[in-house]
């Protein structure tokens, strides 16, 4: 029996080792390929270290790669460079992450502390709506955004992200439930308004959960290219740009090292963020809140 236990543990360990090696080696190979000369090095030296570390590949991709988008107001095709893509990415991610966090946080607070029957109803409604697999509503959503005149705008994206549907609502609800009610009562006795209590007492107490979820959504949107490709076509983000780069037929960019250089440029900021906030991001998030 004891042997079987060891097999169980050892097999999982082996799986994890192989899995970890596969992802790390893939990333290292990608980074090494990004600093090889496409013509004289990469073609003959796919696996080895670069003969000459060509960091200029990054500068080349940064300078040369541009996403062509149609400016609807002028009717002119504009070329969006990487700096502008980075700016769009930051606006897009900050907006989506902020609204995608504050709305479930507020509704979660209301559900946890204001036990009206409507709160129960809302709780059940969200559970049902999350489980409902609605497929193919994107055309209708696009039609709606176009008819409202907010398609392809940051404002439209923000409005779309102001939703409390999703598991984060329950994470916030559980977090606020865990805050002792005495805090609320003491603040009431001190004459604080409900809004004041939420803003000055409850929100700071849920700061860890708020920040963790904000980071998770920020990372999710930084990496997402399909959402901006459909909803924000004329404001390409870095991931959207990387998608275009991977399909680019432009001479000089249409090779593995340059595409890998693009990968590194897009990946680096988020990896740095991950290293800084590793403990928060990899913390134990559950329906019962975030465990520090």
């Amino acid at each position: 029996m004891k042997k079987r236990i060891n097999v169980f543990k050892v097999l999982t360990f082996l799986f994890l080792i192989i899995w970890s090696i596969s992802i790390i080696s893939l990333l290292i190979w990608g980074v090494l390929s990004s600093v090889k000369d496409p013509l004289f090095d990469f073609r003959k030296n796919v696996l080895g270290l670069p003969k000459e570390w060509k960091f200029s590949n990054y500068a080349y991709v940064y300078d040369q790669f541009k996403v062509e988008v149609l400016n609807k107001s002028t009717g002119i095709v504009e070329k969006i460079g990487m700096l502008q893509q980075a700016l769009y990415t930051i606006i897009f991610c900050l907006c989506c992450a902020f609204f995608g966090t504050i709305i479930p946080c507020t509704v979660g607070y209301l559900l946890a502390n204001y036990k009206y029957k409507f709160s129960n109803f809302l709780n059940h409604l969200v559970l049902v709506l999350i489980a409902l697999p609605i497929i193919g509503a994107t055309p209708a959503e696009l039609a709606l955004l176009k008819s409202l005149g907010i398609y392809d705008t940051f404002f439209g994206i923000c409005l779309q992200r102001c939703t409390f549907l999703g598991v984060y609502l329950f994470v916030f609800e559980a977090t606020f439930m865990a805050v002792p009610y005495d805090f609320y009562e003491a603040a009431m006795l001190d004459g604080s308004s409900d809004f004041g209590i939420y803003l000055k007492i409850m929100l700071p107490m849920a700061w860890t959960t708020f920040f963790t979820i904000f980071l998770l959504i920020f990372v999710q949107f930084w990496n997402d290219y399909q959402y901006p490709l459909i909803y924000l076509p004329s404001r390409p983000t870095l991931s959207y740009g990387l998608y275009m780069l991977s399909n680019s037929t432009l001479q000089g960019l249409n090779n593995v090292p340059m595409r890998m250089a693009g990968v590194v440029i897009v990946m680096m900021p988020i990896l740095i963020l991950f290293i800084i906030f590793k403990d928060k991001l990899v913390g134990n998030i559950s329906m019962g809140g975030v465990k520090e």
Binding site: F8, L144, S193
Partner: protein
């Protein structure tokens, strides 16, 4: 509807305060509810409406056409070979997905038990969530198409085609990517669920002499079963949305033989003109009609047959 049932009801002395609370409650809910009404309910109602309409180019409006779009969808499903392939691939990938659903739980258990190198593995498992799918796909794509043939040549001295370029291996390589790099998905939520298990339960079991394997099957798994069942139901919900990362690998140029329904839907929406919206809405509605009962039957079944802690 706004009768109080819990926490706030403790303060029943001052009715003015209660009114004030209610005012705050309503004010704070107005915007989220309006957003839900417009971007969920109105969108879905509009999607159903669109499924019965056709775009009139001359008047720039939609007109009612009855079941025309549905018959077009049925026609495509029955007569187009790529749709048959897409359905077969979708169900095959879904089946494989179901089989490997246990893997993230086992990995979470390993980390939960704080076995050797658990911290390192935790970071590694989280990496695919941090790195964009586009970046990982590009590394993988060129890795299997350029680097692996080189390794093969180096080790065995034989020249082979890239695994993605080789028609006989393409689909399997795509499935492998999807399965392999999603092995760690949801592990954080499983880990969170495991951390919620009272240590005294585990301690009592250990005093009774349970082995780690028994601990996993008889205590941990039954206690985290609600989380597992949620993911199982959501996997049914995502049945027709699974793109197999095809858009990331190939853009809109994937070959028919690797199509999935999720890919076909996304690609069609990406390339769609306003006139295509009704057909796509009808297809979406038909798929929703299949997915909803599947989800609810699974949910009911899981509630009936779910394990219990002995």
């Amino acid at each position: 509807m706004f009768e109080k049932t819990g926490r706030v009801t403790m303060n029943t002395k001052k009715s003015f305060k209660l009114d004030h609370k209610l005012k705050f409650y309503i004010l704070m809910l107005i915007f989220p509810l309006a957003q839900l009404a417009v971007f969920y309910f109105a969108v879905n109602v509009n999607s159903i409406k669109l499924a019965f309409e056709e775009y009139d180019m001359y008047n720039n409006s939609y007109t009612f056409v009855g079941l025309k779009n549905f018959s077009q969808v049925i026609n495509v499903i029955l007569n187009e070979s790529f749709m048959k392939t897409a359905f077969v691939n979708t169900f095959m990938i879904f089946g494989i997905g179901l089989i490997i659903m246990i893997i993230p739980i086992l990995l979470s258990y390993f980390i939960f038990k704080k076995y050797f190198l658990h911290g390192f593995f935790k970071v590694c498992l989280f990496l695919p969530s941090v790195i964009s799918s586009m970046s990982l796909v590009l590394c993988f794509k060129y890795g299997v198409d350029v680097a692996i043939p080189e390794i093969w040549k180096l080790v065995f001295g034989i020249e082979v085609k890239g695994l993605l370029s080789n028609n006989s291996t393409t689909l399997w390589v795509l499935i492998f990517y999807s399965v392999w790099f999603s092995a760690g998905s949801n592990f954080l939520l499983y880990l969170g669920a495991m951390s919620g298990i009272s240590y005294s339960v585990i301690e009592a079991a250990q005093m009774d002499g349970v082995t780690p394997f028994q601990e996993f099957t008889k205590i941990i798994f039954p206690l985290i079963f609600p989380t597992f069942s949620t993911f199982l139901v959501t996997s049914f919900a995502g049945l027709f949305s699974n793109q197999l990362n095809l858009f990331t690998f190939y853009g809109e140029r994937a070959e028919y033989r690797v199509y999935t329904i999720g890919y076909y839907l996304y690609k069609s929406v990406y390339m769609a003109q306003t006139a295509d919206y009704p057909y796509l809405s009808a297809l979406g509605l038909m798929l929703t009609c299949v997915a909803i009962p599947l989800c609810f039957i699974t949910k009911k079944l899981l509630a009936k047959i779910g394990p219990s802690v002995e």
